[in-house]
Amino acid sequence: MFAKIALLNIVKHAKRSVVVFVGVALAVLILSLVGGVIRGLTDTVLSSIIPTAGHIVISDAAAKDSANPIDLKYLIPDAQSLLSQLKDERIILAEPVLTFGALLVQPVPTDSKVEAKNLGMLGQGVQPDTKFLSNIRQGLTAGAFLPEGNGIVLSNRAAKLLGVALGGTVMVLTSDRGNNPWYQEIPIKGLFDSGSETVDLTTFVVSQDTARSLVDAEGMSREFRFLVKDQDSAPAVAASLQTQLADLGYPKEKLRVEPWEITFSSLLTIVQFVNIITFIIRGFFVIVAGSVITNSILMTVFERTREYGTLRAIGLKKRQLQGMILTEGLLLGALGAVAGLILGIPSVLLLAQVGIDVGNATESLGFASRIYPSLAWFDVLFNFLFGTLIAVFASVYASRVSSRLSVSEMLTAV
């Protein structure tokens, strides 16, 4: 019955209702958009990191804090043999990777007066059928990804800077483990656009065998990368792997096992920082919206004081009156929240398709320049409840204030 009366009242006092409705709708819209962007940023970070580096990384314990983490003294010997001994049913993928520093040089004839262009980059020596580096594999624009384990894959940007092209070759200069200079002229088999300028200009890919021959590191790898079934289990799986390594004669002082939250703690710190800022902004939004909505509901209630007095005079109890006001607030809040979601959900879904261009702001951190907001049904439910509750709390306050008046005071109110 209250719902019917509440609905009738909402329609009858449409002008007042609209303000509450718009206030709740705007608040829910903003919460949806901001929440979608933040979730998208987090997803972008995770989707940039995890497919490239995995959930867990095993590497030489001394490398991370050393002056030069890519020094060739920090390699894992007998990599394949060691990797094959590490087991955990939660692991779905395990691969060795050899990263190394190199200078890529444009091949020019020795008697040429043209100065050879060069570019310092980081090489990733991987299995030709690697499931990692998805930003590169999926960003292939020409050629193939290490066909038959041969060749080099580099970005279109790097190729342009070096003046080389698909089908041509590039010289890869390195220093091997004895610090002797070494080079190979390698055919360019694939070109990619990863979506991140930083990745494009700093990374090239060769097969692990090619990498090992370039740095004279037969059988060695820089690190092992793992993917697990459930991302949240990474710390537990990492602990299990650390124990297995210790049993195999590699204590944590020799080989360190890190879940991705530790490896990329600095990036996650930035995301958390952004989350805190937006949480504060959303909090202020809720206070302002709550203030406007409370004001509107109060005015709506006080406008009808005589009407309520009449109802009380014919037998409506205080509790029932409060219930009626609350129901109206609940309905208005729910309708406003639904309207906010009707605007907010398509907006987030649209932005999820086209993305938000933040320019170089995220590229310098290794991500693409576009953030794609994403929608989680938990957020939808949360925003709906939030919008509804703002109106409900405002109604609770209004109903308490109005119920303090006696029947005669209500009937004679102006």
């Binding site: 303000v19 600095s266 005015m299």
Partner: protein, 416 residues
């Protein structure tokens, strides 16, 4: 005056409603002022640091250099930097012009080596266009060509101190690997992680020798102005000076503002400003809708009063104005309340600041060299209160018009 008195009194006739309006307006004013202050503070600090440490205000380079900057192209260099310097130094407002030769090298202490970014600079021009000289914490600025300046992070990684011998290996313009040695003359600490951990300064002559280049060779000429507030004008002046001497487009050279060389920082700040502007716009809209509603209610409550005022001679225009002034007063009062909160937050920010370096990664490509403080101009606060008042006036327009259109007989006879 009489209208103002009546309006001011009416604002607080309904204390509860007034309080809720004041809260909404006050919080929005407080948020907008605080955010504006911090964004301005961060931007000014980061921009100024970038200019002081890295880019100066304007740079002159080969027109294709920036497109290929990632490979540090020695083939796209300036061939007579001293002539450029003489021309640019004569531009009004210029206080420093320096040459720079950028290249990558491996820095070694004899036992381990690190890849570093090297800047070969002319010491005198550098000291006028860059603040590194003032940030040397150990040793001295260049006193001879054999000296190397390096960041404290780099010195720590390689366990180097002033006086230690170092070796630099780089590819010269012919692609030949050259080794030069030097001694650590000074160690600097800028607070900017990327700089302190990865940049080495050599004299221009030493760098030219290492790269088999001529004495006139440099990759860029950096220009510092006394007051870099009008960047477009500064860039234009430099370009005009170059063109006048045939050193502009005809010579394949171009002058650009520092923002071209700090794109990620500029994009970072501008995207923040866009997002903040959008959110603040929605908040202001919300407040305006709230005021509209509140003033409508005020009009409705005072039908009879309006009728009485009209009956005793107040004309429609004056009546509408009264409600507009009421809205203005409400907005002003809310704005002033917001200034109290904003003032407190401003005082806290200006007194204590935030040292973002303590919780953000060291290798973030944003120069946070010191504790950040917000930045306000003296007009920010009064303008914010005035803006709040104007938004409230906007929200009051429709209700004020409605009040003005009321028929006296209907207003006097109404029972709300």
């Amino acid at each position: 005056m009489e209208l103002l008195t009546i309006a001011m009194r009416n604002v607080f006739r309904n204390p509860r409603r007034a309080a809720l309006n004041l809260i909404a307006i006050g919080i929005v004013v407080m948020i907008i002022l605080t955010m504006k202050g911090w964004v301005a503070g961060f931007g000014t600090s980061a921009y100024q640091t970038t200019i002081d440490l890295d880019t100066a205000h304007v740079q002159v380079l080969q027109k294709d250099y920036q497109d290929e900057a990632r490979r540090l192209p020695l083939d796209l260099r300036i061939k007579d930097w001293t002539r450029l310097r003489d021309v640019v130094q004569a531009v009004p407002g210029v206080v420093g012009v320096g040459a720079r030769l950028d290249f990558a090298a491996a820095l070694s202490n004899g036992q381990s080596a690190l890849n570093v970014s090297v800047r070969g600079v002319d010491p005198e021009g550098q000291s006028r266009s860059n603040t590194i000289k003032t940030q040397i914490t150990s040793g001295t600025y260049f006193t001879n060509d054999n000296q190397v300046l390096l960041g404290s992070g780099l010195a720590k990684k390689l366990s180097l101190k002033v006086g230690d011998q170092v070796f630099l290996t780089a590819l010269d313009q012919y692609g030949v690997r050259n080794l030069v040695d030097g001694s650590v003359g000074g160690i600097f600490t800028t607070g900017y992680g990327l700089f302190d951990d990865g940049v080495v300064f050599l004299t221009l002559k030493k760098s030219q020798d290492a790269l088999a280049l001529g004495p006139g060779d440099a990759t860029r000429v950096v220009v510092k102005f006394a007051d870099g507030n009008d960047l477009d004008k500064d860039v234009k002046l430099v370009r005009q000076a170059l063109e006048a001497q045939g050193l502009g487009t005809a010579a394949g050279l171009t002058a650009s503002s520092w923002k071209v060389f700090a794109k990620s920082l500029v994009d970072n700040l501008e995207s923040r400003i866009r997002i903040m502007t959008f959110l603040m716009g929605v908040l202001v809209l919300l407040v305006a809708v709230g005021i509209l509603n509140s003033m409508s209610m005020a009009v409705q409550e005072r039908f009879q009063e309006i009728g009485t005022l009209r009956a005793i001679g107040m004309n429609r225009r004056k009546l509408s104005r009264m409600f507009l002034i009421e809205g203005f007063s409400l907005g002003l009062a809310g704005g002033l309340a917001g200034l109290v909160g904003a003032g407190l937050l401003a005082w806290l920010g200006l007194t204590f600041g935030i040292d973002a370096r303590s919780f953000l990664p060291r290798d973030l490509p944003i120069p946070l060299v010191s504790v950040m403080h917000p930045l306000y101009s003296p007009l920010d606060f009064p303008l914010a209160a005035l803006a709040a008042a104007l938004v409230a006036v906007l929200g009051s327009i429709l209700p004020a018009r409605r009040a003005g259109r009321m028929v006296v007989r209907d207003a006097l006879g109404s029972h709300v």
